[in-house]
């Protein structure tokens, strides 16, 4: 029996997912899901006797990993190697381990930059809140974008 998924809260109670459920939950298109399978990022997905794809929790976990890695602008080839590492970390080739270490360093760098950006945005927002004479952020932006009068 296939459970119909209507919200992310249902994930824990569901074991199998139709392609429509995966599209709704992860925001990926059907073409993308089929493509990932075709190029081997996802192992062949189980199918019903009538040929309908049935995704399990592991498939969803892999897809979330792919999505996250793509947000970090990793290439599909890199993601493929990382998926191998994810499947069998003990037996990963040196080259894959090295790639994973490099990607970890990239993520940590990005994380540090994101944290600085977060703090900067917090400060800007607080400056707006604490200002008596309007928002200094908006005034600064205005100054930057308003052409100087000749």
């Amino acid at each position: 029996m296939i459970l119909k998924i209507s919200s992310p809260q249902d994930i824990d109670t569901a074991k199998y997912y139709r392609i429509g459920d995966v599209i709704r939950l992860l925001g990926l298109s059907a073409d993308t899901l089929r493509y990932y399978e075709k190029i081997g990022l996802l192992p062949p997905v189980n199918r019903t006797p009538s040929g309908i794809r049935i995704y399990n929790k592991q498939d969803l976990s892999r897809l979330r990993f792919i999505k996250r890695a793509q947000k970090m602008r990793f290439t599909l080839a890199e993601i493929g190697m990382l998926m191998n590492m994810r499947t069998n970390p003990q037996h990963a080739r040196d080259e894959v381990r090295q790639l994973t270490a490099n990607k970890l360093a990239e993520v940590e760098l990005n994380l540090a930059e994101i944290q600085v950006l977060r703090d900067e945005l917090r400060l800007l927002l607080n400056l707006c809140r604490g200002s008596e004479d309007g928002c200094p952020i908006i005034e600064t932006i205005d100054e930057d974008i308003t052409p100087a009068k000749s």
Partner: protein
């Protein structure tokens, strides 16, 4: 000798002027040019302010470390600065 004190302010900040007055008064009372004051406009030195952890103004740093993140009471700030001076 002395200590470096930075006051982080921003345009339109209602309490920044008051914070600066308090520090200036303390610096004058202590005298001897022991407190080296610097006004920091966070909009002009945003990277520095964020690196120190300034999330609102006014904020006060001593020797490059954030010590107060709101309008300070004069008594509390005087105590902190006197302690720092005695350590320097």
């Amino acid at each position: 000798m002395g200590i470096n004190v930075e006051v982080f302010c921003s345009p339109g900040c209602s309490q920044c002027g008051h914070a600066k007055e308090i520090i200036k008064r303390i610096a004058d009372d202590i005298g001897g040019d022991q407190i080296h004051l610097r006004d920091v406009n966070v909009l002009e030195e945003m990277d520095y302010a964020v690196a120190l952890g300034v999330l609102a103004t006014p904020a006060i740093a001593v020797e490059g470390k954030l010590i107060i993140t709101a309008l300070p009471s004069e008594k509390k700030l005087r105590k902190i600065l006197e302690e720092r001076l005695s350590e320097s």
